[in-house]
């Protein structure tokens, strides 16, 4: 494991500061680039999105799995999150079936994580002397991976712009050391920074491309798929296949590919759920099946992370 680079906080030019200096609002991608620039300076590995459908950025193995075990770890990445049930055919200005989260994990959490987070807001153009920023209790729990933590939602002028969590358990195992996890809701944050009422009106690149240009048609078509055209029988079959694959890979003690298949189970369940074909009793059982797989992967991963004899000496 390479050494974590010490944070450096010297102010510097970022895409957001350049936009603001030019009298423009930062674009959607300015915010992403600035956050990456900022967290890279805090010693984070800047990763790319995970290439499997996930319901939340937390489920990227760089967070869920790396939160376990004793080794230090700092990473940041954008993660597209798919929530089939939240799709609204592109008709709701605030709800999306597919959106971006910016995810940061620092393990162990540095003592000044709150300050580091507030500095990141400052860098994307939110000035704490003009805005009301607050830490409002919000405990996080993801039963599917047996994970929970305590923390807050961060409110900026009444809007939740991030989730801030100190991971206590993943896969039912204690996190030692504790990781600090930050999740920025990028669309909301950008709507706030740009003063836009409708997500599709977001300025994506500062050169005339809007969020709607990129994603509106996707929301329409995916909603139609999620609610009308998906094939429940096929989804159920695929779920069972994915579940079997996951079990097999766990038997072979391969937690990383096994986790991919657990994620697929989770997404297939979300699709079934959106289609409205899951009865309440079935729902409980599906959730329990996904949980068993995901937790099993986490536990297996943790075993591979235990310090070797050499490291202990």
């Amino acid at each position: 494991m390479t050494q974590i680079i010490a944070p450096q906080t010297a102010p510097r030019e970022t895409p957001c500061s350049r936009a603001l200096a030019a009298g423009k609002v930062p674009s959607f991608q300015d915010i992403i680039l600035t956050l990456s620039d900022y967290w890279a300076r805090q010693g984070c590995v800047i990763l790319q999105p995970y290439d499997t459908e996930v319901g939340a950025g937390t489920l990227h193995p760089a967070t869920t799995l790396r939160a376990l075990g004793p080794k230090p770890w700092r990473a940041a990445y954008v993660q597209p999150s798919r929530r089939p049930k939240d799709g609204r055919y592109g008709e709701n200005p605030n709800r999306l079936g597919h959106y971006y989260q910016y995810q940061v994990i620092l393990k162990p959490n540095p003592p000044n994580l709150q300050e580091l987070y507030l500095n990141s807001l400052y860098e994307i153009g939110i000035d704490p002397s003009l805005h009301d920023i607050r830490f409002v209790e919000d405990d996080w729990e993801n039963p599917t991976v047996g994970a929970w933590g305590l923390g807050w939602e961060i409110w900026c002028d009444g809007m939740e712009v991030s989730q801030f969590t100190y991971f206590q358990q993943v896969g039912g195992l204690d996190c030692k050391p504790v990781s600090g996890e930050l999740t920025y809701g990028l669309e909301r944050l950008a709507m706030y920074v740009q003063g836009v009422e409708n997500v599709y009106d977001l300025d994506f690149n500062g050169l005339g491309v809007s969020y709607g240009d990129v994603f509106l048609e996707n929301e329409r078509q995916q909603s139609t798929f999620n609610f009308e055209e998906s094939d429940p029988a096929m989804l159920k079959r695929w779920f069972e296949d994915a579940e079997r694959m996951c079990t097999h890979l766990r038997d072979k003690r391969l937690p990383l590919p096994a986790f991919d298949w657990a994620l697929k189970c989770s997404h297939l369940f979300n699709l079934l759920d959106a289609r409205g074909v899951v009865s309440p009793t079935e729902r409980q059982s599906f959730i329990a099946r996904v949980r068993d797989q995901a937790k099993g992967c986490a536990v297996l991963w943790a075993e591979t992370q235990a310090p070797t004899q050499e490291e202990v000496v």
Partner: protein, 679 residues
């Protein structure tokens, strides 16, 4: 006398936990100090978003020396015993002990021990870490690489006694004299000498330490803002309590809402503002309805006077209300009728089936009850019951479960039109959940009463049938509340029915009657009066309450109170004589054997009272029945004053006992007077 100041400085403590934490700190510190031999002159604790604070006044510099006399063995005791005594008392030579002479025991040794007091800081350095490690947070966490648990990461411990730092450390956090102020308005850390210094520096660093002061400030500023615009602040103590835990220094700002949102149901607007955004709601006194404004309590004093904060909050609110409007528009596309089949997919309880199953049961039961509560159109009651739960499938209730019933009413009004008959059904959909608490209204419109009773009775019958009864520690299905709801609806509506027919089985009848007894006790009826009245078997709530009320009333009269003494005396004599005879006294009173005028008088009075009571009880005129009974007081008193029951002639004795049996039987038609205390 020296003062001890403690501040536990952490990341933001959940608002709902702060007040309790300050109380817990006070109690723990007080207990630990008194256990260590201190008698603090006074203690105050405080809570703010990032700190818990205690200030203890009037502590000594050290605890007093404790002197103790330890008795030893006799002077002529064996060497071993003396050595043991020396060891135990910590002496090196027996010459250090005194010799005391006792006329009975003779001469023996006594050691004078002095347990020296401790320096107060030493004691505090033990007490405080222990409190920190065992603090009763509802939820606590670890952070970084440490093992200490606190509600959120604990950063600093300020512990100053008499101007000096109390030396201790807890998991690497060393006690200091350093604090800091507001997260954004403070100017870094500062050193603290004592509480006065601390409070002044905190105040300069924009922290209002006292939560009551923060609350008062929020309320006053909000009212001032409202008055300036001829608006009224809608008080909300719960929200005030929460919001004052989110700010170190409150800055109250008024925000504006697009008036077009006022088309939405006011309940939806209020919940959105209050629950999602923690804003106070404002009323327009001219219209009596909500005003298109709201009150924000900000933690920062913005350099632009709060303009950006007000605008930002207004935008967030608009997004929230747009969401609500989306639900409102979407939900209104489908009638409640068309939603009923979906209830089959909602689980009510694993063993009690779906909500759809429950609805079918309520429809049947509401139909049965309808006539009893005065419903003229039984079909309306059944229809209201069918639709009562349909709003559980709406988006709005999915988002705000608190609005169940309320939204159903709106949706029914939207689709079903404004005819009076539909209004009744719509209101019943809303009101069938009532009463939800002691201060809530009780439905009084017959259709609503029928559905409300049916829903609650079904819940009670179902959960009792599967053995899910409330226990001392838990009532997860709120069955006490359901039973109380039944009782209140029945009492306030004067609904007459035999409870046993609608709520039988598995102890449910007793459970409801017990709730009735408890609520009557809370209303001030004496336990023994309830005992006496409840001893008459009955399952008609209205009649039971009438009986209790009449009994309590008659007992307040002189005749009533004295009659009780007479009845008790009679009962005691009967009991004693029956014991003597080894058999229950019985028989018919023979007029011929009534020798004394007093016994003749009592007998006549009993015959008259009995016929009066017969008439009164037939119409449930309990007051009249009780008055007839109380009228026996004179004859009863005269009987006991002049007649000896235990006559030498067994026939006369038997006849007098029969008279007493008759007296008891007459009295037991309204209550069991032997259960009454006193007299």
């Amino acid at each position: 006398m020296p003062q001890f100041l403690l501040e536990l400085f952490s990341e933001e403590i959940p608002a709902r936990m702060q007040k309790r934490a300050a109380e817990d700190l006070k109690k723990l510190l007080m207990d630990a100090l008194s256990k260590a031999g201190f008698l603090p002159g006074g203690m105050e604790t405080f809570s703010a978003p990032r700190r818990l604070v205690a200030v203890v006044e009037g502590l000594p510099e050290r605890t007093a020396d404790v002197r103790e006399e330890r008795k030893g063995p006799k002077v002529d005791a064996p060497a071993q015993a003396i050595e043991g005594f020396l060891r135990g008392a910590g002496l090196t030579d027996i010459a250090q002990a005194r010799v005391v002479s006792d006329p009975k025991k003779g001469d023996f040794y006594v050691a004078d021990l002095v347990k020296p007091g401790r320096a107060t800081p030493d004691a505090l350095a033990e007490i405080v870490p222990d409190i920190i490690r065992n603090f009763p947070w509802p939820k606590s966490m670890r952070w970084g690489e440490g093992t200490l648990r606190w509600v959120r990461p604990l950063h600093r411990i300020l512990a100053v006694f008499d101007g000096e730092i109390v030396p201790f450390d807890v998991d690497g956090i060393a006690a200091s004299n350093i604090s800091e102020g507001h997260r954004f308005h403070g100017t870094g850390t500062f050193e603290v000498k004592d509480f006065e210094d601390y409070e002044a520096k905190l105040s300069a660093a924009h922290v209002v330490l006292d939560r009551d002061q923060r609350k008062a400030q929020i309320k006053a500023d909000a009212q001032t803002l409202c008055q300036a615009r001829n608006l009224e602040l809608i008080d909300d103590e719960g929200l005030l309590e929460e919001v004052c835990g989110l700010v170190d220094e409150p800055h109250v700002i008024m925000g504006d809402m697009d008036p077009s949102f006022l088309d939405l149901p006011p309940e939806v607007i209020r919940l959105t503002l209050r629950v999602n955004q923690k804003y106070f709601v404002v009323r327009d006194p001219k219209t009596g309805g909500l005003a298109p404004h709201f009150i924000i309590v900000s933690n920062v004093k913005a350099t632009d006077g709060g303009k950006k904060i007000a605008l930002g909050n207004a935008r967030v609110l608009a997004a929230r209300l747009n969401d609500a409007r989306y639900f409102w528009d979407l939900d209104r596309k489908a009638s409640l009728e068309s939603r009923v089949p979906k209830l089959d997919t909602l689980v009510f309880h694993e063993k009690l089936g779906s909500v759809g199953d429950k609805v079918r049961r309520i429809v049947a039961l509401a139909g049965e009850i309808a006539r009893l509560v005065g419903v003229e159109d039984v079909a309306a009651a059944r229809h209201a019951a069918l639709l009562a739960k349909a709003d559980l499938t709406t988006e709005m209730v999915g988002e705000f479960p608190e609005l169940q019933g309320v939204m159903g009413r709106y949706y029914q009004l939207q689709r079903g039109g404004s005819a009076a008959s539909n209004q009744i059904i719509a209101d019943a959909i809303r009101d069938h959940y009532k009463p939800v608490g002691p201060s809530d209204h009780v439905p009084s419109e017959p259709v609503a009463m029928a559905v409300a009773l049916a829903d609650k009775l079904d819940t009670l019958t179902g959960f009792f049938a599967i053995g899910e009864k409330p226990t001392g520690s838990g009532d997860p299905y709120a069955l006490r509340r359901a039973a109380l709801g039944v009782i209140r609806i029945v009492r306030e509506g004067g609904v007459r029915f035999a409870l046993a027919e609608k709520a039988a089985g598995n102890g449910l009848l007793d459970f409801i009657l017990e709730r009735l007894r408890v609520s009557l006790r809370d209303e001030g009826f004496a336990p023994d009066v309830l005992e006496a009245a409840f001893a008459i078997p009955d399952d008609d709530i209205v009649r039971i309450v009438a009986r209790v009320t009449a009994l309590a009333k008659v007992l307040k009269t002189e005749d009533g109170a004295n009659l009780v003494a007479g009845l008790k005396r009679g009962a005691n004599i009967l009991r004693a004589e029956e014991k003597k005879d080894g058999a229950a006294a019985q028989g018919i009173v023979s007029d011929a054997l009534l020798a004394e005028p007093a016994e003749q008088g009592l007998n006549q009075a009993l015959v008259a009272a009995e016929s009066q009571m017969d008439q009164a009880l037939a119409t449930e005129a309990f007051d009249t029945a009780m008055a007839a009974l109380a009228g026996l007081r004179g004859p009863v008193d005269r009987f006991f004053d002049t007649v000896l029951v235990n006559d030498a002639d067994p026939a006369i004795r038997q006849n007098r006992l029969a008279l007493l049996v008759k007296l008891r039987a007459v009295s037991e038609r309204v209550a069991d007077f032997s259960k009454l205390a006193g007299a």
